[in-house]
C-alpha cells in the first residue's frame, strides 16, 4: 500500500509536464523569409485550419515582421490563436535578397530552436517573393509545403538537375572546411494572384503552380549565383549524389536522349591536381537520328559522344564554381582529409581552388536500348 501511494504520488507530482493537446497547436509546415522595408518578413504556412466541407484541413498563411527572425516569429504568434508548432516544418523558403545577405542568423535559429526537427528542405525562391511560393495551392497534395517537399524527395534522385539538399546536408556542408553548400530553387509559373485562390484548385489547368528550378550556389551562408540547367547536371554529376540523370547526346544532326541508371564517381587527389573519374551506364529513351543501333561500332561512337557530353557538363560546372570562387564540390574537404599539412599552408581554399587544375575523365556505356532494337528512321528505309 505504501509503495502504491508513493508510485501514485510520483505520477501526480509530475504535474503533466509538457502536456499540450494536439488541436491547440498550429502546425507549421512551411516557412518563408523575405525582406520588407529593411525588416524581416516571415510567413508561416499553418496546415490545420478550419475543416472544409470534405473534412479536409484548410491551410492558412500568417505573416509577421521583425528586426530579427525570432522577433518576426513572435509577431506571427500575436496573430495566431494557437501555439505555433514547428516540429513538422517541411520547407523553408528564402528569398533571393535575404540569401544574398547571408542566412547565418536563420540557420542559427533553426538549429537552436528545440522544437525544430531539422529534416526539412531549404529552398530559394527565384524571381518572386518567398511567401508567394507558400501560397500557391496544388491539387495534387493537401498543402503547398508538402507539395514542394515531396517533389524534391521524389525527383532528386531521378532528375539529376536538383539536389536532395535537406537542412541537415546544407548544415553539414556549411560547417565543414573546404565545402560550400548548394540549394534548390523554386519558381512560380503562371499568374500568382489567381493561383492563390482555392478556386484555381478545381480547374483542370491551373492558373499557377510551383516548379523546381536550377541549383543556387552559396559561399558560406551567402548566395552567389544561379547555375543553368546544364551546369546543375554538371554539379550533381561531380557531387555524385544522384543515381539517375538524363541528357541529350548529339547524334548526327539530332539527339539521342539517354537516361543513366547507374552512376559512380571517384576522386583521385594529388597534391596539385584533382582527377574526377565518372562512370555511367544508361539506356536509350528517344532516338531521332539514323544511327544503326545493331552495329557495335555505331553504339561505341554514341557512347563516346555521351561521355564527351557528360564531360562538357562537368567542365561547365567547374568553370562556374571557379568563376564564383566557391568550392561547392567539397574538394577542399577531401584534400584536407588526405593532405592536412598542405591544406593548412593554403590560407584561402577558395582562392586556391580557382587555380587548382581539375581533370575530368568520363566513361559511358549503353546497357539497353529500351523496347526498340533499331531506330525508327532506319527502319523506314
Amino acid at each position: 500500500m505504501k509503495r502504491f501511494c508513493i508510485l501514485f504520488l510520483i505520477l501526480f507530482l509530475t504535474g503533466c509536464w509538457n502536456y499540450q493537446e494536439l488541436n491547440e497547436y498550429a502546425i507549421v509546415t512551411g516557412m518563408s523569409v523575405d525582406y520588407k522595408e529593411g525588416k524581416y518578413e516571415i510567413s508561416f504556412l499553418i496546415a490545420n485550419g478550419n475543416k472544409t466541407e470534405q473534412e479536409q484541413a484548410k491551410t492558412s498563411l500568417i505573416t509577421g515582421e521583425g528586426e530579427t527572425i525570432y522577433n518576426a516569429i513572435k509577431d506571427i504568434s500575436l496573430a495566431s490563436p494557437k501555439e505555433l508548432y514547428i516540429s513538422h516544418l517541411s520547407v523553408v523558403i528564402i528569398s533571393e535578397e535575404v540569401a544574398r545577405d547571408g542566412i547565418s542568423n536563420l540557420l542559427d535559429y533553426l538549429l537552436r530552436e528545440p522544437q525544430s526537427h531539422q529534416n526539412f528542405y531549404l529552398l530559394i525562391s527565384k524571381d518572386t517573393k518567398a511567401s508567394n511560393i507558400l501560397s500557391i495551392l496544388s491539387p495534387l497534395s493537401d498543402y503547398p509545403s508538402q507539395n514542394i517537399a515531396s517533389n524534391i524527395s521524389n525527383t532528386a534522385k531521378l532528375q539529376g538537375k536538383i539536389s536532395d539538399a535537406s537542412f541537415n546536408l546544407f548544415m553539414e556542408k556549411y560547417l565543414s572546411t573546404g565545402y560550400e553548400p548548394i540549394m534548390n530553387s523554386v519558381i512560380i509559373i503562371g499568374d500568382i494572384k489567381e493561383g492563390q485562390s482555392a478556386d484555381s484548385q478545381d480547374k483542370t489547368k491551373q492558373d499557377a503552380y510551383t516548379k523546381l528550378d536550377t541549383l543556387a550556389l552559396f559561399q558560406k551562408d551567402k548566395f552567389v549565383t544561379w547555375a543553368t540547367q546544364e551546369e546543375s547536371i554538371g554539379i550533381d554529376l561531380i557531387l555524385g549524389e544522384i543515381e539517375n540523370f538524363y541528357f541529350n547526346v548529339p547524334c548526327e544532326n539530332s539527339f539521342a536522349v539517354t537516361v543513366s541508371n547507374d552512376y559512380e564517381v571517384k576522386y583521385k587527389l594529388e597534391k596539385n591536381k584533382i582527377i574526377v573519374q565518372a562512370k555511367a551506364e544508361g539506356t536509350l529513351r528517344e532516338v531521332d537520328c539514323k544511327i544503326n543501333l545493331e552495329n557495335e561500332k555505331d553504339i561505341q561512337k554514341l557512347e563516346k559522344a555521351a561521355a564527351a557530353e557528360m564531360r562538357k557538363y562537368m567542365v561547365d560546372a567547374i568553370q562556374l564554381a571557379k568563376n564564383n570562387r566557391t568550392d561547392i564540390f567539397g574538394f577542399g574537404s577531401k584534400y584536407y582529409k588526405k593532405y592536412p599539412n598542405q591544406y593548412h599552408q593554403i590560407s584561402d581554399w577558395n582562392n586556391y581552388f580557382v587555380t587548382l587544375p581539375i581533370e575530368i575523365e568520363t566513361d559511358f556505356q549503353y546497357t539497353r536500348k529500351g523496347s526498340l532494337e533499331q531506330s525508327l528512321e532506319r527502319e523506314e528505309q
Binding site: 505520477l11 501526480f12 509530475t14 504535474g15 503533466c16 509536464w17 509538457n18 502536456y19 499540450q20 493537446e21 494536439l22 488541436n23 497547436y25 502546425i27 509546415t29 496546415a47 490545420n48 478550419n50 475543416k51 473534412e55 479536409q56 484541413a57 508548432y85 516540429s87 513538422h88 517541411s90 522544437q115 526537427h117 493537401d142 498543402y143 508538402q146
Partner: protein, 477 residues
C-alpha cells in the same frame, strides 16, 4: 422385535437430519430389510432394475448381509460402517440398504443422470482438433483424460473439500513426469482449505495462488481435455473440481497463454505464425490507447507529417482532453462488452446495433470523440480477442488502464516506466518455482523449441526441462 426397532430408528434419524425432506423415499421390504434414497438425485429405474429385483425375494435368511453383498445386480456397491457417511451417499445419489440385524449397511450406486452430454467447447473452439470438452460430471471428465492417456502412471488423487458441498477435488498428474514437490505443494494447499462450499474451480484458485500478487494468471483454466492432457504430459498438474467444466492447470508461464492446443495439430509453420500474430496483438492491445494519448498530448513530434494534420483537424471540434476521450470510450466499451456477455442471445442483435451505430458513428458525428479514438479502442478490443483465457484477458485489461494512467501524466516516459514495472513484475513471478518468463528469462534452450517459434513434432524429442526432470519423450531422446 428389538432388531426391527433399529431400522426404524435409523430411518427416523435420517429423516430428522434431512428435515423430512420431500424427496426422501423409504421402502421397507420386510421387517428386516429396508432401503432409503433421495428421489431427486437417484434413478428409480436403476433401483427397480438392479436393486429391487435382486432383493425382493429374500426373506429371513441366516446370513442375509453376505448373501446380499454377493447377489445384488449392481457393479458398484460398498459396505459402510460409519453411519454418519450415509448423508453424503444419499446426496450423491446412492441407495442405502439397511439390514436390521447388521451394524453395517450397503450403499448401491443408483445415480440419476443429471448431466448434460459432452458437447463442443464454447469458450475455446478449435477448427482442427478434437471437439469434446469437459462437462459438470466429474467421472466423465476423468474419463476424457483417462481415455487419452492410457498410462499406468497416470495418477488421480481425490480429496473432498467443502464442509457443506463435500465436493470432490481431483489432482491429476503423471507420476514419473510431474515433480513430486509440486504435487505435494498443491495437496498441502488444498488440505488447508477451510470453507463450506466449493462450487467451481474458481473457488480454489485463490488458495492455490502463491503469495506473490499479480494480475496475470499463474494457472491455465481450460475446458479442453486435449489441452489438459498436453499439459499433464509436459509435467504440469491439473486440478479438477466436481461440477465444474473448467480444469486448473499449474504452473502456467506467460508463453502458455500464447499457445493453443491447435498449434500441435496444425503444421508448425502456421502455428508459429499464429503465435507471432498473438504476440503482436498482445503488444497492440496493451499499449495502443496509452501510446495514442502520449502521441497526442506529449510527443507530437513522433507523429508522421501526413498524419498529424488529419489528427489535429479531427480533434479540433472535440471539447474533451484526449485522455478523457480515450477513458470515456474505453469504459463505454467495457460496459458494452460486459452487457453483451451477460445478455441473452435474443437481445444481442439490438446490442450490436446500439453499440456499433450509436457509439461508433453518432459519437463521432456529434464531436464527442474523434474518429481516431474509435479506431484505437476498436483495434485494442479486437486484438484482445485472440486470447482465450479469461484471466489473461482481464490482466491485459487492467494493465492497459495502468498504462493509460501513467501516460496521462508523463507521456512516453510513462509508457516506458509502466513497461519496466510490468516486466519486473512478470520476471519476479514464480508459480510453483517456475520462473514466469521462462524460457526468455532465465534463458532456457529446451523451452525455446516450443515457444514463439514451434519446432516440428519430430524435432521435439524432449520435454522442457523447467517443468520436469524426466525429459525423455521417446527412446531416441
Amino acid at each position: 422385535m428389538v432388531m426391527y426397532m433399529q431400522n426404524k430408528k435409523r430411518i427416523k434419524t435420517i429423516q430428522e437430519e434431512l428435515g423430512n425432506s420431500s424427496d426422501i423415499i423409504v421402502r421397507e421390504i420386510n421387517d428386516n430389510l429396508c432401503y432409503i434414497y433421495l428421489e431427486s438425485v437417484s434413478s428409480d429405474d436403476k433401483i427397480s432394475n438392479f436393486l429391487l429385483k435382486s432383493i425382493v425375494h429374500y426373506q429371513k435368511i441366516e446370513d442375509l448381509f453376505k448373501e446380499l453383498q454377493s447377489n445384488i445386480y449392481n457393479s458398484h456397491i460398498e459396505v459402510m460402517k460409519d453411519f454418519k457417511e450415509v448423508y453424503y451417499y444419499l446426496a450423491s445419489g446412492y441407495t442405502c440398504l439397511f439390514i436390521d440385524s447388521e451394524e453395517r449397511y450397503i450403499v448401491i450406486e443408483t445415480k440419476e443422470n443429471l448431466n448434460r452430454s459432452i458437447a463442443e467447447s464454447t469458450s475455446e473452439p478449435l477448427i482442427r482438433g478434437p471437439k469434446d470438452s469437459f462437462t459438470e460430471n466429474n467421472s466423465s471428465n476423468l474419463g476424457l483424460i483417462r481415455k487419452r492417456i492410457k498410462d499406468s502412471k497416470l495418477r488421480i488423487d481425490e480429496l473432498k473439500i467443502g464442509k457443506r458441498t463435500k465436493s470432490k477435488v481431483s489432482i491429476i498428474y503423471i507420476n514419473d513426469i510431474a515433480e513430486k514437490k509440486n504435487v505435494d505443494t498443491i495437496k498441502q494447499a488444498l488440505n488447508e482449505i477451510d470453507i463450506d462450499a466449493i462450487l467451481d474451480t474458481g473457488y480454489i484458485r485463490d488458495y492455490l495462488e502463491t503469495k506473490q500478487k499479480s494480475l496475470f494468471p499463474k494457472m491455465i483454466s481450460t475446458e479442453r481435455p486435449d489441452l489438459c492432457c498436453q499439459s499433464i504430459l509436459n509435467g504440469k498438474i491439473a486440478v479438477m473440481v466436481e461440477n465444474s467444466p473448467y480444469v486448473l492447470i499449474m504452473p502456467a508461464i506467460l508463453t502458455d497463454f500464447f499457445k493453443n492446443p491447435e498449434d500441435y495439430y496444425l503444421k508448425f509453420t502456421s502455428s508459429t505464425f499464429s503465435r507471432i500474430i498473438k504476440f503482436i496483438a498482445f503488444l497492440i492491445t496493451i499499449l495502443t490507447p496509452a501510446l495514442y494519448i502520449a502521441l497526442m498530448t506529449f510527443n507530437q513530434e513522433m507523429i508522421p507529417d501526413q498524419l498529424i494534420i488529419s489528427l489535429a483537424t479531427q480533434r479540433s471540434q472535440v471539447p474533451f482532453p484526449t485522455f478523457m476521450e480515450v477513458i470515456i470510450f474505453v469504459i463505454i466499451f467495457e460496459i458494452l462488452r460486459e452487457a453483451d456477455m451477460k445478455a441473452p442471445s435474443a437481445s444481442g442483435a439490438s446490442m450490436s446495433i446500439v453499440g456499433a451505430l450509436i457509439l461508433g458513428d453518432a459519437a463521432v458525428a456529434a464531436s464527442i470523440v474523434s474518429p481516431f479514438v474509435v479506431i484505437v479502442v476498436a483495434i485494442t478490443s479486437i486484438c484482445e480477442l485472440v486470447f482465450t483465457d479469461m484471466d489473461f484477458i482481464n490482466a491485459i485489461r487492467h494493465w492497459r488502464l495502468l498504462f493509460i494512467f501513467s501516460t496521462i501524466f508523463t507521456g512516453i516516459v510513462g509508457i516506458v516506466v509502466a513497461g519496466l514495472i510490468l516486466i519486473i513484475k512478470l520476471a519476479s513471478l514464480e508459480p510453483l518455482n517456475t520462473p514466469y518468463l521462462i524460457p526468455f528469462s532465465p534463458f532456457n534452450l529446451s523451452g525455446m523449441k516450443d515457444n514463439i517459434v514451434l519446432f516440428p513434432t519430430n524435432q521435439r524429442f524432449k520435454r522442457p526441462n523447467y517443468l520436469t526432470q524426466n525429459t525423455k519423450r521417446g527412446e531416441k531422446a
